[in-house]
Symmetry: C2
DNA sequence: TTGTAAGCGTTATCAT
DNA sequence: ATGATAACGCTTACAA
């Protein structure tokens, strides 16, 4: 069996209190005593039991990061930054993926999950704000929301301005002289906020440019995957009146769409300009490289982790809304201006 | 404050034992009693404290997955499958990235980390087997190794046959009539097993084909990133005698290499055929699509999780070595046979 | 500065 | 089938 605090105390002929002080507190221990206890710890190869410590202190030192899918590049980049940010606050990260499963999201949030060994939740939700309000109330687990814009100020959240980001992307296509601009990533269900907001930005940009929205140019995508982008773009290129640009709601959609355009016998950006959102590294090495709206995952990670740490320390503080910056990165996929 | 087991017992006028039985055991409880206790639980909105349960049972229900970088597509795909596999065994996954930091690897393995709230470790290591042997001994935390081939049978591990995988990739290039085959991803330090094994496979395939190894065609790469692949391929294409094929030790290297070949004014596969290892989804949508050796991450996840669960239940069982299957996927990047 | 002892919220071992 | 109670290993008043 592993040695316990008591074993060390017995071995060193001191009280548990003193050993505990040496192990964690370092307060009021004479140097001689410290060295003495340390020797016993060494000899018995003692390691403090984190579970016992947690039961006593009420802190696990772990926060949960909940995302739809960890293998989506945007989320894995976010996870990377989150793990780093958490480390600077002394936390570790447990990652959970909901896999687009609403039940799972709710279980995690309501604390119905049997093993909630963490102090707080960083949650990138799929479902609407309305449902969320009810959800988290029973458990009162510290919570920071990620990636959505509008939560009525009831929760801490770090978001990007989705409407504006979409608008900027479409405006970039307009600036390149494109006028027949398609969109991939819309979703009919109102409960998904991200597609709603990006659709809104798309429509705003076109409307402000005096261009009418054509429903046949707006394509749905269920999972923001390469395959979804491929299918949607294939359909667009089969249209009698093809688009001269495609705004994809995510870079992954855009990667699929680019390949579809080529497979249909057209080229990017000559025939069709393409722009995405997320600025994943993949798009910087693709051919052509992908123009995209960059979201600052490091910023999102740092600020949200800082919020969560603050809330864990003081559950009653007022919620804060933070908007992460975004910036358009123009690359080859929108490089050529359309001659009118 | 949250309600405890004792609160429920008091409220229901029964013993803690009975409440505990209702909550978890379900053994020997009359239906009437169950209903009665359940009502009290409902009324007090009682949720069992997982930390207390853990202290008592010695099980957290969490396993740690340790990888170099979570945002490398191969590892995030593995993480996705691991989270799913763990769920079928009743475990959750905490992800840690070592970020190529040997210190961090050692801390995790030796249990020097302060918050080891997990029952076992799934470890995808960078460092050599030799170091590992010493590392895990003091803590005896259940451990399953991933991705390496040769660990002397002292640990459970699920690996691919790296030598064979590399050999198959190079053989595929030979089959396409390529003879001047470069390699990207070698590493000088002997302690990194993966590059050593893949280098060995590369050399074996060439030697068997009667082709001499040319040192200038073997390029190092530190991080198996797109950028490293780009740089290495750029150097290769600047050679007086250019290669007609490149074997990249990872798909990410290959994605960078492909872009570099194009930027140097050549084309894939006409001038240079390219093959990678990992078979990440990105390579199926790139232009050209990437030929690659597919590693079965779902298989690796399921088998390793099964091993770990078994070892947690019985720490003394004999270690097992499992080789995960691999298979070459020929795609466009090696589509054209070289005319001699 | 160090020792004593009371919990933290469960589960498990005795009984009954 | 249920009840009392002792651990699990640690932190921290309270004393000394």
């Amino acid at each position: 069996m592993a040695a316990t605090l008591r074993d060390v105390a017995d071995h060193a002929q001191v009280s548990m209190r003193t050993v505990s002080n040496v192990v964690s507190g370092y307060t009021h221990v004479s140097e001689k005593m410290r060295a003495h206890v340390l020797r016993s710890i060494e000899e018995l190869d003692y390691r403090p039991n984190p579970v016992a410590r947690t039961l006593r202190t009420g802190r696990t030192g772990v926060v949960a990061l909940i995302v739809p899918e960890i293998d989506v590049p945007y989320f894995s980049a976010l996870a990377r930054d989150m793990i780093n940010a958490a480390a600077t606050f002394g936390y570790r990260v447990m990652i959970d993926q909901t896999g687009h499963d609403h039940e799972r999201e709710r279980d995690l949030l309501t604390g119905n999950d049997r093993t909630m060994l963490f102090d707080g939740i960083l949650f990138s939700p799929l479902v609407t704000k309305l449902e969320l309000l009810e959800m988290n109330s029973p458990t009162k687990m510290p919570l920071v929301l990620l990636g959505e814009h509008d939560f009525d100020g009831r929760y801490d959240h770090v978001a990007i301005d989705n409407v504006r980001a979409a608008q900027d992307a479409v405006q970039h296509l307009l600036d390149r002289g494109r006028t027949r601009i398609a969109a991939i990533g819309a979703q009919p269900l109102e409960q998904y906020a991200t597609p709603q907001q990006r659709s809104a930005g798309y429509e705003t940009a076109l409307t402000e440019a005096g261009i009418a929205i054509e429903p046949e140019l707006v394509r749905e995508a269920e999972h923001y995957s390469r395959a979804d982008g491929y299918d949607a773009a294939t359909a667009l290129m089969a249209l009698p009146e093809r688009p001269d640009a495609i705004f994809c709601f995510s870079d992954l959609l855009a990667m699929g769409a680019m390949r579809a355009v080529f497979d249909a016998g057209f080229s990017v950006p000559e025939d069709v300009a393409i722009v995405g959102i997320d600025d994943i590294e993949e798009g910087r090495f693709s051919r052509p490289s992908l123009s995209s709206v960059s979201l600052d995952t490091a910023f999102i990670a740092e600020r949200s982790m800082e919020r969560l740490a603050a809330r864990i320390d003081d559950p009653d503080r007022a919620p804060e809304q933070i908007i992460a910056p975004h910036a358009l990165r123009a690359r080859e996929s929108t490089a050529i201006a359309q001659s009118p």
